[in-house]
Symmetry: C2
Subunit: 288 residues, 2 copies
Amino acid sequence: MRVESEITSEAPRTGIVTMGCRASRLGEIWPWHAHDYDEICLFSDSPTTLLVEGEEMRMPENSVYVLFAGERHGFSNEGRNQPRIWAIHYHPRAGFYDGLPIREWPLRQRVWCLNRDQSASFQSLFSRLSAESVNDLPCKSEAIDSLLRLILVSLIRWRGQADSSSSVVRPDDPEVLAVWQAIHASLSQGAGDLRFQEECPNYDSVRHKFRRTYGISPREMLTRLRIERAKILLADPGLSIKEVGSRLGYLHHNDFTRAFVREVGVTPSHWRINQRKFTDPSDNELAS
Amino acid sequence: MRVESEITSEAPRTGIVTMGCRASRLGEIWPWHAHDYDEICLFSDSPTTLLVEGEEMRMPENSVYVLFAGERHGFSNEGRNQPRIWAIHYHPRAGFYDGLPIREWPLRQRVWCLNRDQSASFQSLFSRLSAESVNDLPCKSEAIDSLLRLILVSLIRWRGQADSSSSVVRPDDPEVLAVWQAIHASLSQGAGDLRFQEECPNYDSVRHKFRRTYGISPREMLTRLRIERAKILLADPGLSIKEVGSRLGYLHHNDFTRAFVREVGVTPSHWRINQRKFTDPSDNELAS
């Protein structure tokens, strides 16, 4: 049932291209664009206007879409809208969509609104997937593949029966999710180091639950996510390495280089020369 | 790396043959046997003696094994041992083990002991998978496939780095898991209806969490599991339909028939004539 003109891009293994959660800005516009990977995106907490299929659609909070490679899309915040954006860009492996009918749904059916419970479940699975994508554990791509398929199974079920709960997912501990969100808020603000004790109530007890949930400590997660973001920014030749460090909230150039070397094993400039993966400007936009 | 003499059985989609959680009995023995599907099995709460690879292995509590079709195994409870047994029997689809190195591990490496946290995480994922297998939601076999792969990913990670936590799973709410276990205890005792309010502390608040976790109410889950067990017992031609009903704890024959018709759509005797799937006696043993 695939449209002939569509860009298809099936990798040997499912891989995350980028994923991120951030607050959007008042009046922010993400103009029409398309890319050669698939995308799942949730706009939580506030309404927005989605650009899909040549149309502007005013959507309530907790709207979601599933788009395939080559499908043009965008969004614009009007009035007082500034949703939180949860985006997953991924290359599906061959056979990834087997048994998942959403691959055959018309575009219009793949843009809709979740209820509050469903949105919370989505966010929980998203946070789990995000932790996998920054971890470096055995069978990483198998875990990513299975979690992504569970997200799609949940979306398919929710689309079919709006009120039902799902047996696959359920919201995480709210305190753990609050720490997770503080990390992502700090990242998207380029705020640099996060004072966990001050920002997160009850932190000393929560961080143990956090580690049990995600397999790494809050501080490790913040560092790894900053490094992932650094890689995306480094791929933009218009930014100096000093600028990249300062956008990530590093006050001193050397601190950035040291952290990068510790995590990646090479210096930022060395990495930049050897890896030029992310050339689509929309990636940088999402990450900014 | 497959052994030539091995029975292979790859289905078009991954399917659960049977799965169940039950307390074993003092002195219980499960003699040497093999079957044409794969099996994951946890022995929690108490030590046991496993029969694997022609050997008797005394194992501590929370021992687990992953066995493939054709591999002979069994167990025997000695002394005061009566572990709880969490067994999953499944047919993997073609490609199910892609990226999961456990398929190539020698048998000895596939029998080991989990720590307490890992066992709790396994039980949590097990309960989720078990709910999927009795639900009838869209993409059921895709959800089962992904959850089973996540269980295997977790097992592979735990085997590799005994102390690390995993980012894929985490224990469920203990109150919810207590209700889930009460349901399974009632089932394995053939106790019939369960007085949830009396048996489960704080039941009225927990049942909402239960539904959010598993997608169905505790009572619905009990009914569906009883019906699943009925199907296994009905496949044994040595049991009358009345006996099947009474083993399931139905006091009146008609109550069993009515419940079966409501869930399955046909009477037990009609079902028996048309479906003779489970012929391996070890299945009945597991379910008994």
